[in-house]
Subunit: 400 residues, 2 copies
């Protein structure tokens, strides 16, 4: 039997990076590569009670449920969204298998092969891969610390006539960047003018380190929910636990209902019992206090990594201290190719993600993303010191 | 904001049937429509213990896991598949969000827009919808009680040059049909000869009523797993519980690994804790005894519905007693259009699925699918009697 895969699988060819990272699984390599939450933040005992209560509700916890999701969970999320100036009802909301699935569903119902999506550069690598897998052209827009460059956005809109813009405006992956209010409004204005849908991906918005008021979502700055130019997606992965694979999307009910129809064909629905257990948890849980603890712990870990990197003081290395989220984005001296550095780092027993796969085009090869949430203090120190050794070894080779 | 959906959403337009069935939710309408397992078959207390034990394993039960699925669960499935003459390893297997997702993943990695899939006629309506949503042409092959007609299969292969054939050879949805061994081998021979992949969907194979040896899967009759012309998919939905949304696909490792890459982009992975809990359940559970009970109970319900239909004795109605599975496929007198009958039935307080959406083409409008697994004895009796009233009322209108 000769297998002949679809053309779209060309976008799925395994990257060199993924192959290297595979080698790190299950051995002694310390990983700064993933986007994994700290495991000591998981509310294990509360989840145990929640699953018990879910099963107390009887067989419905194990039966098929609605494609758009368990209604009490959607009501809970709607009420939380309202606190964040997003006045939505259950009909504007769909529960998904992580927010990743929301990106896939929206692509499938809104974009055809050959359509253009504008993206930040760099941006979330799995979103870029998903666009490519769907045959969509992801075109990067220039940006700075405040968000996308509004002039370049206007140029790219004129040149490429995109149907969608994909952004992570709050503690972006991989850069940790926060868009200014002005840029958020600017994006909204241009998109409304040209009838372009915005997909606002917000998995990290709750993980804010400063004591300021939360940054307003772009969705909340627009008309909402009906007629909104924005579909907003978020997840419980970073504030409760990722293993439940529960995220949500909100938007105009016509868009959401089309995503629901697609989901019905694709996988019928996400896990019933996980949704019911999550609702049982949230119903009694002090989520604010829990998020507060996560913020403190992640800020501490971020500060610690910042301190360690500062101490190491490798020549020509630059980074900005993130105001939230899970990642520290590092610019290395220009002569350093971070994919090659990764090979050296894995030998030393530490892994990270090189910057290249985060770029839809014009990749900067001297960049890397470090995750600071997974490892504890001691292991972070060990990881950064191993990284230092790799950096020194690599620099020597390059110099030699 | 003007929304403009992708072309593929044309395949998702809500059917009249779905709209009618929506009206039945949450009220007093008895449903013979869904494919829902009997809720008294769910092992609630065993699942409770299993979730507890999963959480005893610590934070990994709530953390991200492997895209291809929890290894001990895959090992368990592999060992069960071996008992059924399918000698596969974990590298030949992918855990999916129900077997429905396996169909979607295989479509996405194996078929391009415009490609042809041959299907039984009628066949699983959500598979047909999924093919259409992907822009794939689903072409029906004639068949009889033994399976696809081998001559028509040969003709359709020559005419349409399909890349795939989709079949449910054991207790098919919606017909309850079981393919003969000869037809299984015939399909395999023709597909191997023309390098066509077979997608064998087997959600109901375990629900066998007669005491015979289990019917051999087409996958088990082929070379396996490497080089197999078959990708086989099944699920825990019918033998444990559907709310866990856990299914699997097995096949050649190159095909499976391509599906894994697609799943990584689409939703990263299915629920970690559901997979671990399911493994904890299966590890201590007498699954054989449990399946035995389900078989008995479903056979009893099927016999009861058969008896009730026989008693009602509506003129011109025909059906075959299924040897397993969850559905009874009914042919009505030719002048009866079952979608119109449904509207009448819902007024009487009973719902079913009309046959039309199960046909990729050449639909027989005088057919309907009745589910016999969900309702208990009393409600089944009430449902069939309401159906009788609807039938009488409809016949009068037609006669008048």
């Amino acid at each position: 039997m000769e297998y002949s895969f679809s053309q779209s699988t060309n976008a799925l060819t395994s990257s060199a990076v993924r192959e290297i990272l595979k080698l790190t699984q299950g051995n002694q390599v310390l990983s700064l590569a993933g986007g994994l939450p700290a495991e000591d933040s998981f509310p294990i005992e509360e989840m145990r009670e929640a699953f018990n209560r879910a099963l107390d509700l009887g067989p419905k916890s194990l039966q098929y449920g609605l494609t758009d999701g368990y209604i009490p969970l959607r009501e809970w999320v709607a009420s939380r969204m309202k606190q964040k100036h997003m006045n939505v009802g259950v009909e504007n909301m769909l529960i998904t298998t992580g927010s990743q699935q929301a990106v896939d569903l929206l692509c499938r119902v809104y974009l055809d092969e050959g359509d253009v999506v504008l993206v930040e550069n760099p941006t979330y690598l799995a979103a870029v891969q998903l666009f490519q897998f769907r045959g969509i052209r992801a075109i990067p827009v220039d940006g700075d610390a405040e968000g996308m460059d509004m002039d370049d956005l206007a140029r790219k809109i004129a040149q490429f006539r995109p149907k969608m813009v994909y952004v992570i405006p709050t503690f972006a992956n991989p850069t940790g960047k926060v868009w200014s209010a002005e840029r958020r409004l600017g994006l909204l204005r241009q998109c409304r003018e040209h009838n372009i849908l915005i997909l606002e991906d917000d998995p990290y918005g709750e993980i804010q380190f400063d004591g300021e008021a939360p940054y307003r979502s772009i969705f909340s700055l627009d008309e909402h929910p009906q007629g909104s130019a924005v579909v907003y997606t978020s997840t419980f992965s970073k504030i409760v636990a990722p293993g439940l694979r529960t995220g949500w999307a909100i938007g105009d009910s016509r868009v959401i209902q089309m995503m629901v129809k697609a989901k019905q064909a694709i996988d019928l629905q996400s896990s019933t019992i996980d949704q019911i257990a999550l609702h049982q948890l949230l119903d009694r849980f002090d989520l604010e206090a829990h998020i507060g603890k996560i913020r403190c712990s992640y800020q501490e870990r971020m500060e610690w990594m910042h301190e360690l990197l500062t101490r190491e003081a490798w020549t020509g290395m630059k980074w900005s201290k993130p105001r939230g989220g899970m990642f520290l984005w590092v610019e290395l001296p220009e002569h350093i190719h971070s994919e090659k550095l990764l090979a050296q780092a894995v030998k030393e027993g530490v892994a990270f993600v090189p910057g290249v796969p985060f770029y839809a085009a014009q990749a900067q090869t001297n960049t890397m993303r470090l995750n600071y949430t997974l490892l504890d203090r001691e292991n972070t120190e060990l990881a950064v010191s191993r990284l230092g050794k790799a950096f020194a070894a690599y620099s020597q080779v390059v110099a030699g």
